[in-house]
């Protein structure tokens, strides 16, 4: 009577493949890290000594405190910047909103450590602005340390707050606001007592993303922290080890990082559990009628934020085009920096393009079917699949990298030093994004479209190809490009996993940072900027047109 296994073969197959993949390249490596943190120096007996020694070490404790305070401060500042920005975009009649939204989202694809490097170029010890200020006799303390790191995070990660909050502001049912005013609340009171509480879950969700990203980020503190200990960096240093690798202590730091992320997720969940609002706007939420000065103030605010966020990147591009003699800036235009960068080889660039393409394709090939099963075949198994497939998001790239090395440097499968291990790490790291973006599109597609096709005589697999895939295509292409660019600017797992021939652009820049001339580093940064912004700009226009035709 039931069509039996045939009907369930597809979801079961997808679950099996996804679980096998994540088991091998995500859970098993994490288990290895956990194992390393529990083994003694000989790697033979179980012990808590590593945890005790790390937790009694003032340096590492300071690292834990630093990581947490910086991540929390970054989230707080991103919320401070992002919420008013989102409000202006969603509710005030300011011009150029599509441009504002696109530019606000831009920092998400730009490599954040390039932003950190730009800050050094401008306000560092030998920075351009620092120099100018000092020549004018104005004392200026440099930007290194926590304040610089928080500044970079706030201005590169604030879009994580803006995007969900704009959507939330737009979906507030206008009649509850009208009810508040009808009951005598002033506009200010209404915002405070009705609108903001309704969008709070989205703000918190955005803030949490900032917190997690800031916690796991490797490049920004590497550039700016100097001797301040930061967990993600210290884990890397301990593992790579200038004298000897210390996987035990690195493992402990990795476990601490994961524990912090999980704790943050649980706290957010606890806050949101008591506030579940199913608000849905019946129509478009109207723009607020505000006075022209208010409107101008809103526009000025948004443009200021965007300029502040993007100027560092523009600076890097400009600096890369200037002439340097050794470390000394000559103020003449030249392409020497690029020549110097690619003097030895173009491999870093071709590697980046190749690895990012493979990773984007891999994440989509696994992620889209997973999303399909999660959305269309609701069951306990698919709910579990959803959790497992999105959990890599909570694991720092450095930790995953360490785990992969521990798991695959010996034994049944040796992958260290290959391109494959890098691509696998990228796929694991980008899978949550791939699954989430694909399921977001699937939620937009009425399941009865697929049923209509089957009803008209087209078998399920053919229906998937003829109806579902074309309807998802815009989203899949968008997801592919976003995966590509975020992999291209990935540093935290790359830095652990790369080997000589598989040096990427991010590694090239990372290495150039240690050199003397800012020219080469900024040239590498410029190449990265071009290779992240250009693809997004291309599909952004494509997606816009696609969306418009769907209206």
């Amino acid at each position: 009577m039931r069509s039996g296994l045939g009907r369930h073969a597809f979801p079961l197959g997808v679950v099996a493949i996804a679980v096998a993949f994540l088991g091998l390249f995500f859970l098993y490596p994490l288990l290895k890290v956990f194992g390393a943190s529990l083994l003694d120096a000989q790697g033979t007996t179980l012990t808590f000594a590593n945890y005790l020694s790390v937790l009694s070490n003032r340096f590492f404790l300071q690292g834990l405190t630093n990581s947490l305070t910086i991540a929390a401060a970054a989230a707080a500042f991103a919320i401070l910047i992002g919420v008013p920005f989102a409000f202006v975009l969603a509710r005030l009649p300011v011009g150029g909103k599509p441009a504002l939204l696109a530019l606000a989202a831009l920092p998400l694809v730009l490599p954040s450590f390039v932003g950190a490097y730009a800050l050094v170029l401008l306000f560092g010890r030998a920075g351009i602005v620092t120099g100018m200020l000092q020549s004018l006799g104005i004392p200026f303390e440099s930007i290194y340390g926590a304040k610089g790191i928080v500044l970079v995070y706030a201005f590169t990660l604030y879009p994580y707050v803006v995007l969900p909050t704009v959507a939330a502001f737009k979906s507030v049912d206008v009649s509850v606001e009208e009810a508040a005013q009808n009951l005598g609340a002033s506009p200010g009171r209404m915002l405070r007592t009705v609108t903001l509480p309704l969008v709070l879950p989205s703000i918190l969700a955005g803030g949490l993303l900032v917190f997690i990203e800031a916690l796991e980020n490797f490049g920004v503190p590497f550039v700016l922290a100097e001797d301040k200990p930061i967990l993600a960096v210290e884990a890397y240093k301990l593992f790579v080890g200038e004298t000897a690798s210390n996987p035990a202590s690195a493992g402990v730091l990795g476990m601490l990082l994961i524990a912090c992320t999980v704790a943050a997720l649980l706290i957010q969940r606890g806050i949101l559990a008591r506030r579940h609002f199913a608000t849905r706007a019946r129509g478009a939420t109207p723009l607020l009628a505000v006075s022209p000065p208010m409107r101008r103030l809103g526009a000025v605010y948004c443009w200021t934020v965007i300029v502040a966020a993007l100027v560092p990147f523009a600076t890097v591009v400009v600096v890369s085009l200037l002439e340097f003699r050794g470390p000394v800036l000559q103020y003449g235009l030249s392409l020497d920096n690029f020549a110097q960068l690619f003097q030895r080889s173009y491999r870093p660039l071709t590697n980046t393009v190749l690895l990012a393409t493979l990773a984007a394709a891999g994440a989509a090939i696994i992620g889209v079917p997973v999303a399909y099963v999660v959305v269309r075949h609701r069951s306990r198994l698919s709910a579990l699949l959803d959790v497992v497939a999105t959990s890599p998001f909570a694991v720092a790239g450095t930790v995953l990298g360490i785990g992969l090395v521990l798991a695959y440097s010996s034994g049944f499968l040796i992958l260290t030093g290959t391109w494959l291990i890098m691509v696998l790490a990228y796929i694991v790291r980008k899978l949550p994004f791939s699954v989430r973006s694909a399921s977001a599109i699937l939620h937009q597609i009425d399941p009865s479209l697929e049923e209509a096709s089957v009803n008209l005589g087209v078998a399920p697999l053919a229906t998937f190809l003829r109806i579902t895939v074309p309807l998802m295509l815009g989203g899949i292409v968008g997801g592919l490009v976003l995966t590509f660019v975020t992999v291209a600017s990935e540093l935290s797992s790359t830095v652990v996993l790369y080997s000589g021939p598989w040096t990427t652009m991010t590694v090239a820049m990372f290495q150039a940072l240690e050199g003397t001339s800012p020219g080469v580093a900024s040239a590498a940064a410029t190449v990265l900027i071009v290779f992240t912004v250009l693809p997004v700009a291309l599909v952004y226009r494509l997606l816009r047109r696609h969306e418009l035709s769907m209206l």
Binding site: R2, S3, D446, L449, E451, L456, V458
Partner: protein, 355 residues
């Protein structure tokens, strides 16, 4: 040209029995409606016929040949979805051609049949249009054309009119009925709108909690409801408790609201407690000085509410035991205060069980 047999069909979702041992025989070329409140299992049953919902037990046959084992794409049913499900990335013509191309029909023939189907739904000039350029009613027509163009064995319609405005709804239902007669096709139609069901069906199955309450022609559903649920769900009804006092062949005397009412009742023994259904339009107010017609029953009550609705007036009379009696009349009542409600006892319907 297909007769549909549904035999002992069961489907549970967890502890909920969505469809609970349903058997129906639908005749060839019949317009058959599944009517019931949301959650009664009517859509689940329809989706079982289409193949989108598995059967826990039972079987479904088209012309005596079992189809519930076939995959949904091999059943040759034409389904019209509540949301229309018109493919947004295909033009009107490509939407209509979709099922024909799946059947590998020659291009010339496909072309001819698209024209024919679009003519039937009055969209001749819409071939190159995109779905986003169409109104709700036009999308509905595309969905119907797409379903009938494949010459399905049965046409399945899942609340097809619920997204249209009231006026268009009446127009479209007439058109669907006309189309069904022209094509001579068997239709299963799902709706929760009793007026719609009464207007277009050959027969109606009223469903409740996964079970069939009654299968009958529209008139019989309304005039001889089998259960209190049917009496209340289809139209409105006054349900009064009564006791059978005397049986005389087919006829019984029932004591209800303090009066003895003589009416037809097949079942029930003397002393049984029953529910009596009285339709509002079967009741009338006795004007002052008017004489009660021979054989009619009368109940005295207090006029408590009057609702003027334009063509008709609805009012409520409070009976001595406090229960309300709803009446419908063409003219507003001329009296107030204590009134006499008169009715033909033959129009009182005896239902078993409690209301």
């Amino acid at each position: 040209m297909t007769a549909i047999t549904i035999e002992g069909v069961v489907r549970s979702f967890g502890v909920l029995r969505a469809v609970d041992d349903v058997s129906i025989a639908i005749r060839d070329k019949e317009f058959f409606t599944l009517l019931g409140p949301s959650g009664c299992g009517k859509t689940t049953l329809l989706r079982m016929v289409a193949g989108f919902c598995e059967l826990d037990r039972g079987r479904i046959l088209f012309d005596g040949e079992r189809i519930d084992t076939l995959p949904p794409h091999g059943r040759n049913t034409g389904m019209v979805f509540q949301s229309y499900a018109v493919f947004p990335h295909l033009t009107v013509a490509d939407n209509v051609a979709y099922g024909l191309r799946a059947r590998r029909i020659a291009a010339v023939e496909v072309d001819r049949r698209i024209d024919h189907a679009l003519k039937l739904v009055q969209l001749e000039n819409f071939r190159p249009r995109w779905p986003h350029q169409l109104s709700g009613g036009q999308l509905q027509r595309v969905a119907i054309a797409r379903a009938i163009v494949i010459e399905p064995r049965v046409l399945l319609l899942d609340e097809p009119l619920s997204n249209l405005d009231a006026k268009l709804r009446v127009e479209m239902r007439t058109e669907i009925r006309r189309l069904q007669k022209t094509l001579g096709i068997t239709v299963i139609y799902v709706t929760h709108d009793q007026e719609e069901a009464l207007a277009i069906s050959d027969r109606i199955a009223v469903m409740r909690s996964g079970r069939i309450e009654q299968v009958a022609e529209p008139r019989a559903i309304y005039e001889q409801p089998a259960t209190a649920f049917v009496a209340e769900f289809v139209g409105t009804s006054n349900l009064l408790r009564g006791t059978i006092q005397q049986r005389d062949g087919e006829m019984v005397d029932i004591m209800v609201a303090g009066v003895s009412v003589r009416t037809r009742a097949a079942a029930g023994l003397v002393g049984d407690r029953v529910v009596v259904s009285l339709r509002p339009e079967a009741l009338s107010l006795l004007a002052p000085g008017e004489v009660l017609r021979a054989g009619w029953a009368r109940i005295v009550g207090l006029l408590s509410e009057v609702e003027y609705l334009g063509p008709v007036t609805r009012f409520t009379v409070q009976l001595a035991d406090g229960s309300p009696l709803r009446l419908m009349a063409l003219a507003p009542p001329a009296t107030a205060g204590e009134v006499i409600v008169a009715f033909d006892p033959g129009r009182a319907i005896v239902l078993e069980g409690s209301a």
